[in-house]
Symmetry: C2
DNA sequence: TAGATTGTTAATCGATTAACAATC
DNA sequence: TAGATTGTTAATCGATTAACAATC
């Protein structure tokens, strides 16, 4: 089964496996069975074995899985070891938090630059990269060819900016604005983070 | 079908319906069919009707759905109109962004107070509420009975803080730290926002 | 070797989609 | 009334779980 055929349900579990395996590795655990991992993660052993076997056999009968090896393998499956160049748009409150707090290299990205429309914010450096005015976007993209963009923009300007970025050859988006990018643009990859949806889900579940 | 029986898949779609209906309402659209809404949202008309009918019949044969009425109805289903008291823990970069940027009342919450361990941050006001030292947590909870907590804490202290909060009668959590709260504590409601998982999913999907 | 645990196939379960009678 | 569209039941599809032979 190739990467393309793996269902989104499985894909979305991979980072969680990666996270748990990192914790196991850090606590010095070398070997784990699907049964034990299932108990720790609140899954079934069957599901774990099915998930891993979408990408190949990482275990050994009678033994289980080697934690550091599996961790490494999942990292490679996700693409951690092959970072993609990315730009961040919108250095407001949220953009600053994302840029300052997320460890991009450990998630398969390299932050190349930050863009904002405010003259006060541009011209300096933030989170180790330059902050540029949005006017310089096209030139920057030609020069550094970022493959992804993190959209920390107000919802009003997000769709317009998206069109611009797609025209500049960027087709992968991490979107924090209140619109669903996938709907309008087929062919692009977008992860929409809707904090409001998550919060309303919590509210509903409280009864 | 009561709220309890509705599957999580359906529940998680409700805030998205709410968002789209708000946009429709704001643009003055009064009537919409499941077919038209499906086209706009990238769903099937069947699914939309199934989803809404988990909570009762909001439509009218031959007509469709009245947008403002449906918007109002979904808001009530989520619980927007009955806000729950909440405290926010951890006024770091992320905590500040959440407190300052999220419109809590429009999502069914009322922010009662913010807690932090740093003396520099406590004693002042932020996002319209007081910032208190974590030492005052127990007293505050007895006095104001918050029902939920937003955890913007470092992962190291999150599980410990959770135990404390559960003991103080809080059982609903919006969690931004790198741990999965549901695993350790059954009976509590937790929405874990794993930005890292979302970002790694994007990385995987980029190939 | 015997015990354990994987990889994988088959069975079950739940969610989505299709169909259509009811009815506005 | 005729056309449209819902609410709801039945069919399909996909994802999860169970089972077990392979094998370390």
């Amino acid at each position: 089964m190739t990467k393309q055929n793996v269902s989104l349900s499985v894909i979305r579990r991979m980072p969680r496996y990666y996270r748990f395996l990192e914790a196991l590795k850090d606590s010095g655990i070398v070997r784990i069975s699907s049964k034990e991992l299932a108990a720790r993660m609140g899954l079934t052993a069957s599901q774990i074995r099915q998930d891993f076997n979408c990408f190949g056999g990482f275990g050994q009968q009678g033994y289980g899985y080697n934690v550091p090896e599996l961790y490494e393998a999942i990292g490679k499956i996700i693409g951690i070891n092959a970072p993609k160049g990315v730009i961040l748009l919108g250095l407001g409150n949220l953009g600053q938090t994302i840029a300052a707090n997320i460890n991009f290299p450990s998630m398969g990205f390299e932050l190349l630059g930050i863009f904002d429309i405010s003259a006060e914010k541009t011209g300096r450096r933030f989170a180790g990269v330059g902050v540029y005015h949005t006017d310089e976007l096209a030139e920057f993209c030609r020069k550094y060819s970022p493959e992804a963009a993190f959209l920390c923009l107000p919802s009003e300007v997000a769709p317009r900016t998206l069109d611009e970025l797609v025209a500049l050859g960027i087709n992968s988006f991490w979107n924090f604005s209140h619109c669903d990018l996938t709907v309008s643009h087929p062919g692009i990859v977008a992860e929409n983070v809707h904090l409001g949806d998550s919060l309303m889900t919590l509210r509903f579940r409280m009864g």
